[in-house]
């Protein structure tokens, strides 16, 4: 590591972090074999349900936000234009 440069600035370390993150993701799913879940609802008992649900729900929310943004986004000087409201 060159002096003055944080270890988080090194591309190699970022790659390592990504690999570690993916490994942890895989582990949390695989661990379902070892841990007995107590599903309250049928759907909860599906293998890897929470992982899939978390991902899909977030992807959906991002897409919805993006779509809504097409209609509702304005430049951040929008309210400043009438001059009374800097």
């Amino acid at each position: 590591m060159s002096p003055g440069k944080h270890w988080l600035d090194q591309p190699n370390n970022i790659k390592l972090l990504w690999r570690g993150f993916l490994l942890v993701l895989a582990l949390t799913v695989v661990a379902e074999f070892a841990v007995r879940l107590h599903p309250h609802f049928e759907i909860e008992g599906l293998f890897g349900f929470h992982a899939l649900y978390g991902f899909v729900a977030c992807a959906l929310m991002i897409v919805v936000a993006k779509g809504l943004g097409l209609f509702l986004k304005r430049p951040d000087s929008f309210y400043a234009e009438d001059g009374r409201d800097e």
């Binding site: 991902f55 977030c58 304005r74």
Partner: protein, 569 residues
């Protein structure tokens, strides 16, 4: 009686607020930390029950009534006043801390009120205190935001007042107990409460006003108004089903708007609406588990949201910037702020071993216990969304992402210690939840740490983290704002008013031109007839006169018969 009056925790804090402007230097700093501490001690020395009762008109009021629920909320309000005061010690505005203590004292006053009249009085003091906190930012934007803020809260106060008055007239009882939304008065009370909770349709006052306060002001603002609303809803309207759906709407509204937002503190204020949504949904479910969950979540939320806003405030104070698109890479020079911000972010996301995990999960558990599958699924999706919009987005764009080249140092000691205190509480409540559980209004029959719960929560959160980084291109910050309902009173309302005024001006001009022409012609006519030989100055024949008198007498006769006929019928 008089000694209990002096020891009212709310009045201690408010007295502190009034004394502070007289003090300077160390004495003032000590007083800032002492006032909330004394309030906390007074609170815990208080026995349960209606400690102080007075008669007012025909009503029995209890300005000081203590039970577990009110003690829980008063405790966190006092704690918040302490940490906020510590954080704001170096605030240059001399108005801000006194205003914040007035605000916090009033919040405690609401929590300890045993009757609706006292609730209303402190409710209004809160509106005044919070508006003063906004003013002390002393900027033009804060000033105009504070006017909009005050307008919404004064309107909310009027609605609440109407409801309380109606309730008093109908029942003759001022006591603040459980109500049903079964009359106009109770609906008005419910609406008044919900306005302060940031519920739709006028939630926009919150992200409009809060981010305009000073670097320390927003920390205070985040804590009291919405959580007092949660408190009064828990006491007044538990199990009101519509609250479930209002809460779920708030949860997703907060996420979507926070995802679109560029201002770091506005992201966090949208996330207040989101978090309060969880609590409101819990109140709507209304079981003991759900109400415990809502209370616990309010307690932990105040701590981690304040922590998040403290770290954002430290960034704002050091850089003067608040837009994500202008920040980034601050972890290089602000390690402590980064770590505290991340702890707050993990806690709001309910990561295991943080305070959010042991509080929010009780609300989901209550939904599962009640077999409310749709509600449960939506709450789970929302939990994932919290990690997305606040848990990763805030620390990522402020402290990491691209390097903005900014190298500000960590903040001064008073701010650092306030952050460390709340970061410590976020972790310790997560690791050791029993003390908090013991304070909850109902006995807790819930174990947060089971292998299944930890595992499913980790799956949910980590995979939403994956979604964030996979879809990062969609989340790129743009220098934009997103229209909210405040557009209706900032743009549409004024534009409509201007339009109506313009139409009115044109109409009245046309009308006055038309009328003045008419008047001129009539006055010409009159003038003509007042000349010799005109209608008014010539002599009239007597027969004419007699004819008109006869017509009038006939008309009189007709009216007499018509009137009499009706009277007899």
């Amino acid at each position: 009686m008089s000694d209990t009056l002096i020891l009212h925790p709310a009045l201690i804090l408010i007295a502190g607020a009034l004394l502070l402007p007289l003090l300077r230097g160390t004495a003032r700093n000590v007083a800032v930390l002492l006032a909330p501490t004394l309030a906390l001690i007074a609170l815990w020395l208080m026995p349960e029950g209606r400690v102080w009762e007075v008669s007012w008109l025909d009503y029995q009021l209890a300005p000081l009534a203590v039970d577990k629920l009110s003690r829980l909320f008063s405790t966190i309000f006092a704690l918040m006043a302490f940490a906020g005061g510590l954080y704001a010690l170096r605030q240059e505005s001399r108005l801000e801390i006194p205003a914040a203590f007035l605000y916090a004292g009033a919040a405690i006053g609401v929590a300890l009120a045993g009757d609706l009249v006292t609730v209303f009085v402190f409710w209004e003091v809160m509106a005044v205190g919070s508006t003063l906190v906004l003013w002390s930012a002393n900027t033009k934007t804060a000033w105009s935001a504070s006017l909009r803020y005050a307008m919404v809260h004064l309107a909310g106060g009027v609605i609440l007042f109407a409801g309380v008055t109606g309730h008093l007239l109908a029942t003759g009882d001022a006591a603040f107990t459980r109500m049903q939304p079964d009359s106009v008065a109770h609906w008005l009370i419910l609406i008044g409460f919900l306005i302060n909770a940031g519920a739709p349709p006028i939630s926009a006052w919150l992200p409009d006003a809060y981010p305009e306060a000073s670097w320390s002001g927003t920390v205070f603002l985040s804590a009291f108004t919405t959580k007092t609303a949660v408190y009064v809803l828990i006491r007044g309207f538990p199990g009101t089903e519509i609250l479930i759906w209002i809460g779920l709407f708030m949860v997703f509204y907060g996420i979507v708007y926070a995802l679109l937002e560029n201002d770091m503190r506005r992201i966090l204020t949208y996330s207040i609406v989101n978090q309060v949504g969880f609590m409101i949904a819990g109140i709507g479910i209304g079981t003991e588990m759900a109400l415990n969950g809502a209370s616990a979540h309010a307690f932990t939320h105040i701590i981690y949201k304040a922590l998040l806003l403290m770290s954002a405030g430290a960034v704002l104070a050091a850089t003067g910037r608040r837009k994500c698109s202008e920040l980034g890479g601050l972890f290089h020079s602000m390690p402590l702020t980064t770590i505290c911000g991340i702890i707050g972010a993990l806690a709001i996301s309910s990561f295991p071993l943080t305070s959010g995990f042991i509080s929010k999960s009780m609300i989901s558990q209550a939904a599962a216990d009640g077999h409310l599958q749709t509600v449960w699924l939506l709450l789970a999706a929302a939990s994932a969304g919290v990690f997305l919009h606040a848990g990763i987005k805030f620390p990522w764009f402020v402290f990491f992402q691209k390097d903005s080249g900014l190298r500000p140092a960590d903040p001064p000691a008073s701010m650092r210690w306030a952050m460390i205190l709340f970061a410590f509480l976020c972790i310790s409540l997560g690791v050791w939840p029993e003390p908090l559980y013991a304070l909850l209004p109902y006995a807790v029959d819930y174990v947060p740490y089971t292998a299944a719960h930890v595992l499913t929560q980790l799956q949910l959160l980590l995979f939403s983290g994956l979604a964030f980084f996979v879809m990062l291109d969609y989340l790129k910050r743009t220098p934009t704002i997103t229209l909210d309902v405040d557009w209706s009173w900032r743009k549409a309302g004024p534009a409509a008013a201007r339009g109506v005024a313009a139409i009115w001006r044109r109409l009245s001009k046309a009308l006055s031109e038309f009328l003045s022409a008419k008047v001129t012609s009539i006055s010409d006519l009159v003038a003509r007839h007042r000349k010799p030989g005109g209608l008014l100055l010539r002599s009239w024949p007597t027969g004419n006169m007699a004819l008109w008198v006869m017509v009038m007498l006939l008309a009189y006769l007709v009216f007499y018969y018509v009137g009499n006929g009706n009277g007899n019928a």
